[in-house]
């Protein structure tokens, strides 16, 4: 069970959170102006990287806030967590210990 640092509440166990998928995929301001390809990309195309991944979590059983995290999908270690709306931090995964 992961240990996740909520930007509001601090470190909490994973069971307090709900995963929210890849982060920084903003809903287009005017969906109707998009082609089918562009819209499908917004809906379904995902980076799914093997490595650092910016993703959303919601502290459902806590403060209720959505926030973002950067996590290494190979080690599952978090690089950072930050509030929704803040830019993705430019970080590389921490070296071990």
């Amino acid at each position: 069970m992961l240990l996740i640092a909520c930007p509001y509440c601090g470190e909490r166990p994973e069971i307090e959170f709900a995963y929210g998928g890849e982060a920084h995929i903003a809903r287009p301001a005017d969906p109707s102006a998009m082609s089918d390809e562009e819209w499908a990309a917004f809906l379904y195309a995902r980076t799914n990287p093997k490595g650092t991944h910016a993703e959303r979590w919601r502290h459902t059983n806590g403060c209720g806030r959505f926030f973002n995290a950067v996590r290494d999908t190979v080690t599952d270690f978090f690089v950072a967590t930050y509030k929704t709306g803040e830019p993705r931090p430019d970080l590389t995964p921490r070296s071990v210990v």
Partner: protein
Amino acid sequence: MSSLRTASGGRIDRTKTLRFYFDGRSHTGVQGDTLASALLANGEYLLGRSFKYHRPRGVVAAGSDEPNAIVNLTRDAARSTPNVRATTIELYEGLHAESQNRFPSLQVDIGAINDLLSPLLPAGFYYKTFKWPASWWQRVYEPLIRAAAGLGRAPTLPDPDRYVGRWAHADVLVVGAGPAGLSAALAAADAGVRVVLADEQSEFGGSLLSEPTEMQTWLAEAIATLAANPRVTLLPRTTAFGYFAHNMAGLAERVTDHLANPPPHLPRERLWQIRVKQVVLATGALERPLVFPNNDRPGIMLAGAARTYLNRYGVLPGKRIVVATATDSAYRAALDLRAAGADVAVIADLREAPGEIADEARAAGIAVRTATSVVGAGGLQHVAWAALAPVAGGAPEAVPCDALLMSGGWTPAVHLFSQSRGKLRFDADASAYLPDVSAEHERSAGACRGVFGLAEAQGDGAAAGASAASGKPYTPSAATPNGGGWLGLMPNAPAKKAFIDFQNDVTAKDIKLAVREGMRSIEHIKRYTTTGMATDQGKTSNMNTLGVASGALDATIPQIGHTTFRMPYTPVTFGGLAGFSRGDLFEPIRMTPIHPWAAEAGAVFEDVGQWKRAHYFPKRGEDLHAAVARECLAVRASVGMFDASTLGKIEVVGPDAAEFLNRMYVNAWTKLGVGRCRYGILCREDGFVRDDGVVGRIAQDRFHVTTTTGGAAGVLNMMEDYLQTEWPELDVWLTSTTEQWAVIAIQGPKARAVIAPLVEGLDISREKFPHMAVAECTFAGVPARLFRVSFSGELGFEVNVPADYGRAVWEAIYAAGRPHNIVPYGTETMHVLRAEKGFIIVGQDTDGTATPDDAGVGWAVAKSKRDFVGKRSLARAAMTGPSRKQLVGLLTADPKTVLEEGAQLVDDPHQAVPMTLLGHVTSSYYSATLGHSIALAMLVNGRARIGQTVHVPMPNGAIAVRVVKPVFYDPEGARLDG
């Protein structure tokens, strides 16, 4: 059989004798014994049969690494546990154990024929055979294989024992309470931090428990010091079985298994899930067997285990002993046994020049042969001789013995380290994998990282413990491998019947065969031979596998690598992992405030999500259909009442509330007046219907939103998602009020008459309180929100009252309705009534592949809105057109025929399989009101097919059905006003 119990010594209490039973025979042991030590003391060598060849097997080890002495332990009919290691079972009065995997008895086992057939049963034989005739696999071969395989028998009765869980936190978790772990815990505790110390054994001390006398004072003092410290938690009988991400460990504590009469308030096991800042692994090392033919004969055991039996349990492994070793440590066993009066015939040391300890042995009168290999053993059900041969070559000599002790060296227990994703490095000097690069905040200390001397282990533990407490980076001192050790087949020994994995009967020959057949990866070798896959997960075998594979592959061990260490370290009880999650505590059972009334009224309940909902209210002798027919007729004729409290409710408040709902729902909300409500449809972003419900405008900036029962949590989460992450600028907030309100629907022509006397402060006349009105009022004396809505097609109201009043208000309505013969009705009647009207149930008539238009609620979509969730997706080509399935009604020719929900629709029922399927029946009931059956269906291009006939293929012939509009009753809506 002669007793092998020593006269004195050990950590047992000889004054407390305990009676126990093995395979029905009665024996005695003493307090402090394990089942294995007690059986050995009684001269019982034969404890089990192996998996494949049914070879006789005895005790090899003294701890949880035991591969052979696996028994069934039975407390009573319902408390039977298969596959328990006799070496870890603490003896208690009246213990019953039975051997496994043998028929008719342990001594005479017909399965042992497999041993004779073993040339036909090499690794992977089953992949090559049993293919013809094809039908025999399932009927003949597989049942035979299955019956032969498996070890113990699964229990057959429900387990009555309790298991508890416990979450915990600490600064430092120390796993293993040997000298290294104890020293680590002492050092960490000294620093004042929170420490947890766990060891799987009944007593702390680790290898010290196997030492004769020295160090016992230190051990006692160390334990006392720790026990006195309130910041320290001591967990004996607790196995750290898993090392999980972010420094969480799973620990299984056996609370009562060692007690003859467990007190009822105590659980059998406790599952600890501990999150810590730092972990110190001090899990020690496991001794390796030597690999030579017949090395599995009862009486052949690890030298260290023999020393444990002697020094800890006061049991001699035999009277005439041969020791075969590749390390110094076996000499300790020989010396101790010799001192205890056993005849140590010879020590056969593989090495040319053993250390000083060989001189010590010689001085004690023990013959030491160097550069000598053990190449075989004799005896049938018990070892009778050991074959010793010079490494340089030459004929083996059979040395008679009744115990053959072996030591191939020590394998550091790096299981947890590796589970944590730490990287191992092969150390040639230690012939072992050692911890190299950590992944977690963790450090290893003592024998588990190759630091073997006692003082060294203590020092190492102390340093690791102190640094763990400080949390500072730590560079351990260089490990000092003790040298020696041997991996794989003994020099000059044949590979046949030279066992590597005892339990799964994997021999050195099997490993070579696997390599010959192209299995070059160690993972393939493991899977092809099943080495390391038995209940001990290769604790004693994995390194010897590598040794043999290395030769066969002509590759070094680091080139080969190792298989993956996985949790659990030792097997963990399912019940322990499930904990309280059983029966009523399996999951919350959610009940409405009105539930007790319904239960008293005899309602039958159904599960909807975690809710219990009244399904119907049978009167004496009524079944579902009779009750529902009565309930339906009553609503249509007079009035019924329904508990709708489980509906999800969300209070949407703020100046931007209407704007927010505009963006979320397909409907338009801006023009909805205060005091009015509207049926809303919520789509997912992909355009498919997600949920529906009535939304009422309580004030300019306040909406009362309802959702389906099952959708409540998901819809709120979805709304929060959009609000927080897409439109944080909107001034609107969402609060779940599902449980704030008890909701009672009153439906039927007499509905107004029933509630009128209960309503204060509101004119509920047809004119003043029309269909789709909402208002706050006082109802039956309590504050309420009253909705004029109908899910039945009749005049209807839904009253929301604060939940604590739910039952009282329900009773008040029931009383007020008595003169009108009001009936309470359940979800089934609700479903029939709405189906008669063609109202959909999201999740029943829609299934996640339906658009609003498909579901017949396209009218709700506000075409003029620039955007809403799902709008863009609905513009995709495939979302419209004649290929879409659409909601329709179906009528059968025979009014009594009720179609089966889920039945399929086709044009031509005689077409060949696979048929072209056009849709399916989503809802189907007998309508007592209409006197015939009705059904709703999703049908390809359905609205265009109204008036046509389609067919429902059934096993006993197809049923022709007429496609009709999905409204069967009162299509004009005349009854809405009562």
